[in-house]
Symmetry: C2
DNA sequence: CCTGACTGGATAGCGACAGTATCTAATCTA
DNA sequence: TAGATTAGATACTGTCGCTATCCAGTCAGG
């Protein structure tokens, strides 16, 4: 199919498609001649995926590039690929405070306590967790620092459920797609449900309070 | 205190403080004279809060303004105020697709099933949930549309725990602060834990797979 | 009293980001 | 053969969240 059809089919403008090709998010079409290339349904799929990630998850274009690159490396295991996806999808929280050994230790302790033995000891996510813990402690949010424990089984159940949804029988590109969509869209789903639950529980507690 | 002290204390530049005052995120200092105003520790608190919301949650300045405005309305109940906070903190997912009655019905059904009876029938979050459900269905993410049911008790437990952390004995501004911090920072915490859990469970399932 | 640093307020500018638009020369299609 | 379309390059736009500059008035130290 030609580029204009691809644009019509996906609702993405021709200019944007060209931009994505330039940025390496989308492979160029198969060249038929100097001024004509052919796009197939793999392009349609990819483009739809990219749009969902941007529209729903506001994933920056640079992160999308990292995701594409991770899929490309065919020597890595699926798990390595997923690890790179997690790294790319983590929003860089700008916490300029210097690294803090204490909170980092707390973070490791939480991972330990959750029983997530397979998390790389050098996973960047651990530092990120430490940063967030630092913010929580600094802002006096948690009177009970062990309260995190309450989250762990719940989060574990959610993550296990989501991973079970991924069909191991598919090719790696499809699996990556499911992983990334799960991470972003179901993450949004989760936060949305949580806001609704907040509204309900806040009503139970504070409806009368002025 | 003078503006330069406020800046030093919070690590926010004088120019940025002026910008926040312009945008209505921060009240102007108490005027001592034509060219001098006094800032107190309420300004320090507010400023620290604003920075956390921006640095950790990437909350847009416009949403921060909505939050401040919601706190200002002293006639509303605490619950109304929290409702406005939820509205402001929802990232506008650009799903240009037309509203869909079917997914909206599904959304209402989920809220129902969760037992969140106190959620306003016209809560904007319901539409947002409908949009996300539409994306989930369109992208063929969920083979099992009832799978959402698995999330509900977990999310409910998390939200209930978080609301219980809010100290009803405080003034409304402090309660709002706790609510908003909980929403944003603990939301980030939750997603961070989830990514770690994803890494663990992905290792269990796909470590060998190439 | 003088001088230089600082202030509130207004306005203009900047850099990153995510596209858009324009142009060119070639090529396809009616 | 004429009008539309294309790949590719380059330049432009609009939004966001600050920054920088300017102004004139004021304060604090010597």
């Amino acid at each position: 199919m030609r580029i204009s059809e691809l644009a019509d089919l996906t609702g993405v403008s021709v200019a944007t498609i060209k931009y994505y090709v330039r940025e390496g998010l989308l492979s160029p079409g198969r060249k038929l001649s100097e001024r004509l290339a052919d796009y197939d349904d793999r392009h349609v799929r990819r483009l739809r995926l990219l749009r969902v990630l941007r529209d729903v998850g506001a994933v920056p274009v640079g992160a999308l590039k990292a995701l594409v690159d991770a899929t490309q490396d065919r020597s890595a295991t699926v798990h390595d690929m997923f690890g790179k996806a997690c790294d790319a999808l983590r929003v860089e929280t700008a916490v300029p405070a210097s690294r803090d050994d204490h909170t980092r230790a707390l973070a490791d302790q939480i991972v330990d306590q959750a029983g997530w033995t397979k998390v790389r000891p050098d996973a960047p996510e651990r530092d990120h967790l430490a940063d967030i813990i630092k913010v929580i402690l600094d802002s006096g949010l948690s009177t009970d620092p062990e309260g995190a424990a309450a989250y762990l089984p719940l989060v574990d159940a959610i993550a296990a459920y989501e991973l079970d949804q991924i069909d191991a029988g598919q090719d790696r590109e499809t699996m990556m797609e499911q992983m990334v969509l799960g991470q972003v869209v179901l993450g949004e789903f989760l936060l949305c449900l949580r806001r609704l639950a907040h509204e309900h529980h806040s009503a139970l507690r504070f409806a009368e309070r002025r």
